[in-house]
Symmetry: C2
Subunit: 225 residues, 2 copies
DNA sequence: AAAGATAATTAGGATACCCTAATTTAAGGA
DNA sequence: TCCTTAAATTAGGGTATCCTAATTATCTTT
């Protein structure tokens, strides 16, 4: 019975998912969204959330949702840091494909001691962003805020450069990679179909324009020219 | 319900511990030895062993012990391979201390997908031994046999070179590191005290001779001159 | 061969996560 | 205000892994 609470893999995934959801929708985070992200049932999430609340990692407001406590946020940022450092390693050192590293890093992130994290960061030259453009929290858990805007909010006709992709997921990353939509890519929003229709995006170097649903366009952030 | 049985961390540690014990004492491996190595109770081990037997990973002979099946051995070697590759990475690339990497690798070994393992091996130049001298199984699970002998069996007065240290453990590695007993070190067995007493070993570059208990001397392998 | 010591096994529980099937609550529209 | 619907919660289970306290088998030693 050690006083140092060992954060297990499950706990870490819950905390990480909560920060990720906070960047997508306004807090508090809904139980059902967490359930969807984690691929477990709502009752399971609720139960786990109660456990996390007891450990002072989250606050749960019944029928409203979940928020991270300061303690919880620190833990979550630490996981995010490890995740993104590993992604950099997998791409830069091991030369694994951009779209595949997210899942691999999701395993490694829970198996990395602090000393290893620090040494890994140094080995990589203290990078500031993951291969998908998202900022790597520093050792204290701080991130520099992004000025990029969701592609969804770009005015039609505007050209921009892809900055980062949030709420990372293998399927999404594969989809985007196949269309050349990686950080740094130059693009122009050609059109937005009405009635929640897709966005037509011209990607520099691609033959045809890409059609992106709104769900996706809300996750792709760009820097307008 | 996927047909591919996902080997969990616990299962992997059991399998790895069994191969490790097989190199120290003659098979089958005793339940109590496994319990000691894993830091769990004997009833827990027995229960788990039964689960492993159902999955065709081990054979259990009541009151005798456990042996790996071919399937089990392959899995175990895969874990050992990942473990030792990570150790190399942690020492060679991250420059972490020789004595500390074993524990870190013990976490990473369970979180490494096949594609990552392969890429890591390539990145490291397909090394053939871990920092503690033990052979890294190849992608198929084969290891080249060692011709080194236990220090315990060295004749008094014989000088030799340290080859590898088996049944790795943080405490042991620290102890040995502090005395300069790392692979490649030159040494001479000065004396063996009677009545299960310690071995006096002169280590090249060290002031005083080191006194090693027999437990330890059975785990340190050397190549006589 | 009987006793003692040691290891293995059985019995009975606990905890962390996860699930499905109700049931209840909250929120928005009629 | 009442109704509908979606989300949240409660009820009742399940599995993997671990534990302690008996009990039993095996091996050693007298
Ligand atoms: Mn993960
Ligand atoms: Mn990423
Ligand atoms: Mn391990
Ligand atoms: Mn090693």
């Amino acid at each position: 019975m050690s006083a140092i609470s060992i954060t297990g893999e499950s706990t870490e995934m819950y905390l990480k998912s909560i920060v990720e959801l906070e960047m997508l929708t306004a807090p508090p985070v809904a139980i059902s969204h967490l359930a969807q992200r984690l691929g477990v049932s709502s009752p399971s999430v609720l139960e786990m959330v109660k456990r996390l609340a007891v450990q002072n990692l989250v606050t749960h407001t019944p029928y409203k949702g979940v928020s991270l406590t300061e303690r919880g946020r620190r833990r979550a940022m630490a996981v995010l840091r490890r995740h993104r450092l590993w992604e950099r390693f997998l791409v830069d050192a091991l030369h694994l494909p951009w779209e595949t590293v997210h899942d691999y890093a999701c395993q490694l992130e829970h198996a990395t001691a602090p000393a290893v994290t620090d040494a890994l960061a140094a080995f990589l030259g203290n990078p500031t962003a993951c291969p998908h453009g998202n900022p790597i929290p520093d050792a204290v858990g701080d991130v520099q805020p992004s000025v990029a805007v969701p592609l969804l909010e770009l005015p039609v006709g505007q050209s921009a450069r892809l900055a980062h992709i949030i709420y990372e997921e293998a399927i999404l990353l594969e989809y985007l990679a196949r269309r050349g939509l990686v950080p740094g890519a130059r693009l122009m929003l050609e059109d937005i179909a009405p009635y929640q229709g897709p966005l037509m995006v011209r990607v520099d170097g691609s033959e045809h324009p890409a059609a992106l649903g709104r769900e996706i366009a809300a996750r792709v952030f760009v820097l307008p020219d």
